[in-house]
Amino acid sequence: MSVEESHGSPRKARSMRTPLARVRSLGASHSGTSDFWRQRITAVAMALLIVPVIVVVLMLLGRNQAGAAQILGSLPIAIILLLFIIASAWHMKIGMQVVIEDYIHNEKLKLASVMANNFFSIAVALASIYAILKLSSGV
């Protein structure tokens, strides 16, 4: 960008905002790279958590509800699962939104799908979190 472009001629100036302010945190989606970055944070989080999560699932095999509830209600296991649920729900919400935006070109259908995606991801996450908290409290 030339100096002239970046500052604009005084006659044509329509905005007092600097070029930096225009690009900062925005872009076509008006959300900048935040979703890109969060997709990576949650990916790394799950890559770190996957081994303990698989161990927990294997521990539960062959047990009845009482045994499973006891294991799931223990503090370290509940925390591992809560972290994994939050990371995965966030990750899948962003991922599905990318898929929707790539393939659904009808604007209304796209908005409805993005909304449904948010509802689904939040509902699945909240239901799972509630179940773990209930198991942890032993009620």
Binding site: M46, A47, L58, G62, N64, Q65, A68, L135
Partner: protein, 132 residues
């Protein structure tokens, strides 16, 4: 309506020779979508554990059935594949592994590693829980 001007279009997917990285890119997306809906199973299982013996027995009856086992096996593979394929993407995000041999090796690694880890997890599952 304005007259359509016939402009040359850039060729789309079906024009190109299929490559492994292309196919695996689509598989990464498909496994992601499968895992998205698979979380319903995970949520159902957690809610059942929190609800009581009856609800939990229902989940176990489902996961113990042939169709249930197939779904959980498929879910395991989708998870393992998406994990390794995703780690491959993180390597690329950091700017490494773009040479022809490197990207092929990473992609084969994700493919073979995903299947191997799935089999390993299921062997462990059968060894521990007797296949429940």
């Amino acid at each position: 309506m304005t007259a359509r001007i016939e402009r040359p279009l850039s060729p789309h997917l079906q024009i190109y020779r299929w490559t492994l990285t292309m196919a695996l890119s689509i598989v990464h997306r498909l496994t992601g979508i499968a895992l998205y809906f698979g979380t319903l199973l995970l949520a159902w299982w957690l809610i059942a554990a929190a609800s009581g013996p009856g609800a939990y027995a229902n989940v176990q009856a489902f996961t113990g059935s042939i169709i249930g086992k197939l779904i959980v096996f498929g879910y395991t593979w989708a998870l393992m594949h998406h994990l390794l394929s995703g780690l491959r993407h993180l390597v690329w995000d950091l700017g490494y592994g773009f040479k022809a041999t490197e990207r092929e090796a990473l992609t084969w690694g994700a493919l073979i590693g995903g299947v191997s880890l799935t089999v390993l997890v299921w062997i462990a599952a059968y060894a521990i829980g007797g296949g429940r």
